[in-house]
């Protein structure tokens, strides 16, 4: 199973789950599986069909923008991370 780490701000939409197991052979496919399991996430990750530009996705520490974008291949051993921008500091 491929795992996706859910960042703190989005755990509200995954019933508090910190990681979710997903299936699929590309970033697009596993994110689709994720939003099917947790539909409330969809609006936070996607603007229409496009991944939102303030939500970064990493496959094994590498930004998918440096790989093949949403088409980046994903295997069962891969660990994905969603890292949205946060601004807190005060």
């Amino acid at each position: 199973m491929t795992t996706i780490r859910i960042p703190t701000p989005l755990r509200t939409y995954t019933d508090g789950q910190t990681t979710v197991n997903v299936t699929g052979s590309s970033v697009t496919a596993v994110l689709n599986d994720l939003t099917q399991q947790y539909p409330a996430l969809k609006n936070h990750l996607f603007d229409g069909d496009e991944l939102r530009s303030f939500v970064n996705v990493y496959v094994n520490k590498e930004d998918i923008r440096a790989l093949n974008g949403a088409a980046t291949a994903v295997s069962e051993e891969d660990a994905l991370m969603i890292v949205p921008s946060i601004a807190g500091g005060a």
């Binding site: 949205p84 946060i86 601004a87 807190g88 500091g89 005060a90």
Partner: protein, 397 residues
Amino acid sequence: MSVLSNDEIRRYSRHLILPDVGLPGQEKLKQSSVLVIGAGGLGSPVLMYLAAAGIGRIGIVDYDVVDETNLQRQIIHSTSDVGRPKLESARQKLLDINPYLEIDSFEVPFTSDNALEIMAPYDLVIDGTDNFPTRYLVNDACVMLNKPNIYGSIFRFEGQLSVFATEDGPCYRCLYPDPPPPGLVPSCAEGGVLGILPGTIGALQATEAVKVLLGIGEPMIGRLLIYDALAMDFMELKVRKNPECPVCGDHPTVTELIDYEQFCGMPAHDHSDYTAAPALNGQEAEEKTPVPQITPIELKARLDQGESLPILDVREPHEWTISNLETYGAFLIPKGEVLEHLAELDPQKEMIVQCRSGGRSADVIRELQKKGFHKLLNLDGGINRWAEEVDERLPVY
């Protein structure tokens, strides 16, 4: 002759015997200058450690006043400082830690008009701000002036750390080209933050600052640290310099500072939860239209006349346990779940929408207006203002 006095040499003894610092390193720190933007959660530990470490000159930008709700995490300020300007409180604490320090105080909002001038004299900048407009401003100004930007940010139990805008390294815009649309990412004032978290991230920022100033070790250039306090997990990700970056790329299109509030569609305010309500501060983002308001006193008067007014509370369940208007028939549907419960709400009936201080409830009203609800009133100032003006038995949080 050293730039350090004998008293200072005694003070920095543990640094002087440290192989990578030594007397030359300590002298370098003494001759270094750092600008810290924000004397709050991140700024507190950053300032205290940099002062103790012997940085010669520290500039601080902050125009806020110490508030009781700051004390849970802003350890540079104490209970006796409540009501004082943060700069005054910070200055006193820092000079008590290290009297050999020079401190420059900038008690102004950090804006596109003053950013370059304030930043120019310093070797390095530490971003301890709390909102997207100011973070993009700090980044762009650092890139334009070639100042390393030691970045940290926090939310609930999670923190991020990186070093941006060095000679060949990426900048904040390489990591996040665009800010999130207003309302999609909650602020700490809205989502909460573990008081110790800014301590952890701030201490790491101070560490990176000293490393960059001394040219030792491997600073977090091109790397992003994600810290999960609950899992006690430190994860490291790669940040690539984006050749297309509008600020630091090969062909920059942003070559002077812009209007960052417009860029982010939100005001650069500390307590954005409340001040983001457009009608209140005159700095409204274009997307945020004013919503009909009702003050707590007006609402109380109408309820006392026996009017039946449903009150929709859009906070989170753990906030409901702190204070609520259940005795007046209030019911809870958290902001993120309101659209799923549309069928339970009557668009024909007048209804009050309420949160902690009026920001989230205004967002909900704007959303519901699009779904045909036109009889909604926002409780101005939220339950906190109700507690202050109508029912003093309720706590303010």
